[in-house]
């Protein structure tokens, strides 16, 4: 469902040179596959997720999602692919502070083409155990609860792929497992592939497929 080929990304440096971050000859993720991505800080994990989501564009290579190379699309089309096929969870501050939990989940639907399905939003919040928190603003929710709202929101548009960038790094260890379990089980139920970045070995060890960015990124290999 996801395949990367000849992907290259570098950033301009203040001195005028370029900082190479990614050089990925090939990478694939299957339908509903659940993979975890490891790598030391600053090795380009977030950058890779941005490129997969179409938030950043690579300098070279292709990113195919469901057979569509999003690198070739124009920005508006990429935005639509992201809205409809990709769910995204960040480490922190996923939620918009002015909106209730339910509204945050609905927000994802606003930017996709499909209809705004409040019933589904409620079901998802129920699924992540927050049926009683629909009208709560993020500031009144714990970090763990906020991340669970983020999980519900990421799945709101029935995406094909969930990108999660260290989703439990800010959650206390007691609730970390709860969030990971939720992500994995809901994605399994909905047939959504997962590409999850983490630093925690106890999280990584639960996944069947564990990838080290340094191993398939030639920039890291050189460094």
């Amino acid at each position: 469902m996801l395949s990367l080929k000849g992907l290259k990304k570098s950033f301009a440096e203040p001195g005028g040179g370029r900082l190479p971050v990614l050089d990925v000859p090939e990478f694939h993720l299957g339908e509903a596959e659940q993979a975890v991505l490891l790598g030391r800080s600053g090795c380009g994990k977030s950058t890779l997720l941005h490129i997969i989501a179409g938030i950043s564009t690579p300098n070279a290579g292709s990113v195919e999602i469901d057979g569509v190379n999003i690198v070739k699309l124009d920005e508006a089309e990429r935005d639509r692919v992201r809205a409809e096929k990709i769910g995204y969870i960040f480490q922190t501050f996923n939620l918009l502070t002015g909106f209730t939990a339910l509204e945050n989940v609905m927000l994802g639907m606003t930017f996709a083409r499909g209809k705004r399905d409040e019933k589904r939003a409620k079901e998802l919040l129920d699924r992540v155990g927050l049926a009683h928190r629909l009208k709560h603003k993020p500031s009144t929710l714990s970090v763990g609860e906020q991340q669970r709202v983020a999980v519900a929101r990421a799945l709101a548009n029935r995406p094909r792929l969930l990108l999660a960038d260290e989703p439990t790094a800010s959650v206390d260890p007691k609730h970390q497992q709860q969030v990971i379990d939720l992500i994995r089980s809901t994605c399994r139920e909905e047939g959504v592939a997962i590409f999850l970045v983490t630093h925690a070995p106890e999280v990584a060890s639960q996944f069947d497929r564990v990838e080290h960015l340094e191993q398939f990124n030639r920039v890291a290999a050189l460094a």
């Binding site: 941005h50 938030i55 809205a83 960040f90 918009l96 502070t97 909106f99 509204e103 994802g108």
Partner: protein
């Protein structure tokens, strides 16, 4: 979740700043509306009174506007008089064939600061003071030609002076209530006019025949004795039971009479074009068109002042718009992360841009609507005061076309105001925004 709601939530997020900037916009718009309505009212009041059913005002040569202000608006310093014989030209003489109607005015007296107009009863007979409104009496009746010391009082003057039918008043010489003018004999109020919304509401009307008999009102004629002594002596006889005695007075001989102005209605349209030329060529008096003079006054003084006021209030609106700009723009750095999140959820650049634009439009238009209501509310509250002061009734003035321009105007302003922060949102680098913490 509509974009509208998202924008509204952001406005709520910045509660205080939004309220303040929205309120300043409301104030600005309220002032604009107030100026527009007042403009409308002033214009309406002046223009609908300018005609009073007459084509021209004839008076001594001199300031045209002054003549109009004196006769129609009961304002300004008094003008010179013209001989009574001249009136004859209109009734029986050279101009007779052109004239539909002529009413003389003798001015120069006041009662407690309210101008006294000495005239003939014809002024209120079958006369229209606007296109379709006739003079009516709230109390009593019109004064009679042969009752020399009768008078009627305009609605506002009556209310202010507390005059009612049966009361008497003594006009004083001069147009101001400076206490210096000699108090004349008393006139009896026989009627109170219903409000007309014209300056006549502020005036008192007396029988010209009585006016002529007042002290100092007869023109001195060389070789003839001063009539005042005689007239005064006569009055003293029945100073205490005068009311029904006045009609026994002898009218003042015509050679001792003067008039201040003649309100002339031409016989027909052709006459209305000829007559002024004839009068002006004869060089005895001048004929002026009240409507033209008032329009001139408007164009030269009133309009520019009102445009200036309008300009200032519009400036306030623009400054409020800048306030909204600053408020939204300041919030942009805090909202970088939120914009990044929305983009990550699939929002397009143009979508986040629209949200910011909508915020600006909502604040401007919301403030504008509140301001419009405030302005109208203000006018409605002041309306009774204005009626009491000027006799001009505003009511709930109909929606003016100039007010309708407020809406597209505000939308344009809010678009301009929203553009800068909206472009910031448009250009947000999502990857960097997501890397930043809020």
């Amino acid at each position: 979740m509509s974009l509208f709601k998202i924008a509204w939530r952001s406005i709520q997020q910045r509660g205080l700043a939004s309220a303040l900037t929205g309120f300043s916009m409301a104030l600005g718009v309220a002032l604009v509306v107030a100026v527009l309505v007042i403009h409308h009212v002033v214009q309406d009041a002046f223009q609908r009174n300018a005609g009073l059913g007459y084509d021209m005002i004839v008076g001594a040569k001199g300031g045209k506007l002054q003549l109009v202000l004196n006769t129609v608006y009961h304002l300004s310093t008094p003008v010179e008089n013209i001989p009574y014989s001249y009136l004859k030209e209109f009734t029986t003489g050279a101009y007779k064939d052109y004239v539909g109607k002529v009413v003389p005015y003798c001015l120069g007296d006041n009662y407690e600061g309210y101008r006294v107009v000495a005239t003939t009863p014809e002024i209120f007979e079958n006369e229209f003071y606007t296109e379709d409104e006739k003079y009516t009496f709230a109390q009593g009746r019109n004064f009679k030609q042969d009752k020399f010391f009768e008078g009627v009082v305009g609605a506002l003057a009556a209310r202010r002076l507390g005059l009612k039918v049966g009361d008497t008043f003594r006009p004083a010489h001069g147009v101001m209530n400076d206490g210096l003018g000699h108090k004349h004999d008393a006139f009896t109020v026989v009627g109170i006019l219903a409000p007309t919304g014209t300056p006549n509401d502020r005036a008192l009307f007396i029988n010209m025949e009585g006016f002529y008999l007042l002290e100092n009102h007869a023109k001195p004629v060389p070789g003839e004795p001063e009539p005042t002594a005689k007239a005064e002596a006569k009055h003293e006889d029945h100073d205490h039971d005068h009311n029904d005695e006045h009609d026994h007075h002898e009218p003042l001989p015509e050679n001792k009479r003067e008039v201040t102005a003649l309100l002339v209605r031409a016989k027909n349209t052709t006459a209305s074009m000829f007559l002024p030329n004839k009068i002006n060529e004869a060089n005895i008096a001048q004929a002026v068109s009240p409507i033209r003079e008032i329009r001139g006054l408007f164009d030269v003084i009133v309009e520019p002042i009102q445009w200036l006021l309008l300009g200032l209030t519009v400036l306030i609106v623009i400054v409020s718009g800048i306030g909204i700009l600053v408020s939204i723009y300041n919030s942009m750095s805090e909202r970088r992360r939120e914009i990044g999140v929305m983009r990550a959820l699939g929002a397009r650049r143009s979508t986040v841009m629209s949200i910011i634009m909508l915020e600006s439009v909502l604040l401007s238009l919301g403030g504008g609507v509140v301001g419009w209501l405030m302005g109208r509310g203000l006018i409605a509250t002041l309306s009774p005061v204005i009626v009491a002061q000027t006799g001009v009734s505003i009511g709930f003035a109909p929606l003016m076309s100039s007010e309708l321009f407020l809406i597209p105007g505000l939308i344009c302003l809010s678009a301009l105001v929203g553009y800068l922060p909206a472009m910031t949102a448009y250009r947000t680098d999502v990857a960097r925004a997501l890397a930043s913490s809020p």
